[in-house]
C-alpha cells in the first residue's frame, strides 16, 4: 500500500515509458504524416517527464533547463515539419507516407 500512496520516482518513469512506447507505435504504424508528428510529440513529452523527474529527485536544475529547451525545439520542429508536410501534399496530393516514394517531381 505504501508503494501506491507515496508518489515516487518510479511512478513518473512508468508514465513516461508508456507515453514513449505509444509514440513509437504511432510512428511505426500510421500512414498519415500528421499522426506521425503527433507520435513524435508524445515521445518528446515522455523525454521531458524523465528530465523533470530526475531533476526533481536529484535537486539540480539541469533537467528543468533541458526540458525548457526541448519545448523550444519541439515548437521549431513542428513548424518546419508541417511546412514540409504541406509541401508533400502540394506535390503528391496525399500525405500518406507509404505513397511518397520519389524525391523529384
Amino acid at each position: 500500500m505504501e508503494m501506491f500512496t507515496t508518489i515516487g520516482l518510479n511512478h513518473f518513469l512508468t508514465i513516461s515509458a508508456i507515453l514513449f512506447s505509444l509514440g513509437m507505435f504511432a510512428v511505426m504504424t500510421r500512414k498519415n504524416a500528421i499522426v506521425i508528428l503527433m507520435g513524435v510529440e508524445l515521445i518528446l513529452n515522455a523525454a521531458n517527464i524523465n528530465f523533470l523527474t530526475f531533476s526533481k529527485y536529484n535537486g539540480g536544475m539541469a533537467g528543468v533547463m533541458f526540458s525548457m529547451f526541448v519545448i523550444v525545439l519541439a515548437a521549431a520542429e513542428a513548424a518546419v515539419a508541417l511546412a514540409i508536410v504541406i509541401n508533400i501534399f502540394k506535390t503528391f496530393k496525399t500525405v500518406d507516407v507509404s505513397r511518397v516514394d520519389t524525391m523529384k517531381e
Binding site: L13, I15, M24, N32, M61, D96
Partner: protein
C-alpha cells in the same frame, strides 16, 4: 493536503494522460486524435506541477496547446479536403508495432523496477523554481538560451519559406 489526496489527484492525471495518449495512437480519425492530444498535453502539464516545475507546466500549456496543437490542426485541415469526409488514417505493420509496444513497455518497466532502488538526492526541488530558472538562464545556460533564439528565428523563416503558396502556382503556368 495529506499524502492520500495527492496520490489520488496524481492517479487521476496519470490516467488522463495515458488513456488520451492511447486514444491519440489507436483512433482512426485524425481530428479525434488531435483533440485527444489536447488532453494528453494538459495531463502532462499537471504531472509537471507534481514535479515542482510550475514554470515548465505553464510553458507546456502555452507552447504545446496554444502553438503546436493549433499548428497540427491547421495541418489536418490543409491536407484533407473537408468535403471529402475521409479523415481516416490507414495503418501498416500493426503486428510488429504492437509487439514492439508491448516489449518496449515491459522492457523499460522491468529495467526501472529491478535495477535496485533509485537513490534520491538529499536536496530535492521544493516549491516554485521560477526564480532559479531565471538565475540559471542568465548564468550557466546563457549560450544555449541565445542559440535557441537563433534556432527559432531560422526555423520561423524556413517554415514560412517552405510553406508559401505562390511557388507551386508559378510552376504550373
Amino acid at each position: 493536503m495529506n499524502q492520500l489526496t495527492l496520490a489520488i489527484i496524481f492517479y487521476v492525471f496519470a490516467a488522463l494522460t495515458v488513456l488520451s495518449a492511447a486514444f491519440v495512437v489507436f483512433s482512426k480519425n485524425i481530428i479525434y486524435s488531435a483533440f485527444s492530444l489536447l488532453f494528453t498535453f494538459f495531463g502532462v502539464a499537471a504531472l509537471y506541477v507534481f514535479l515542482s516545475a510550475d514554470f515548465i507546466a505553464v510553458t507546456q500549456v502555452v507552447v504545446y496547446v496554444g502553438g503546436i496543437l493549433v499548428l497540427l490542426l491547421f495541418g489536418v485541415m490543409f491536407t484533407n479536403t473537408i468535403m471529402q469526409a475521409e479523415l481516416k488514417t490507414d495503418v501498416l505493420h500493426v503486428v510488429p508495432g504492437t509487439l514492439l509496444l508491448i516489449l518496449m513497455i515491459a522492457g523499460m518497466l522491468y529495467t526501472f523496477y529491478t535495477t535496485g532502488d533509485w537513490m534520491p538526492g538529499e536536496a530535492q526541488l521544493q516549491g516554485s523554481v521560477v526564480q532559479r530558472i531565471g538565475f540559471e538562464t542568465m548564468s550557466h545556460f546563457m549560450l544555449p538560451f541565445e542559440m535557441a533564439s537563433i534556432v527559432l528565428l531560422v526555423a520561423l523563416l524556413g517554415a514560412a519559406f517552405l510553406a508559401r503558396f505562390d511557388k507551386a502556382h508559378k510552376n504550373e503556368h
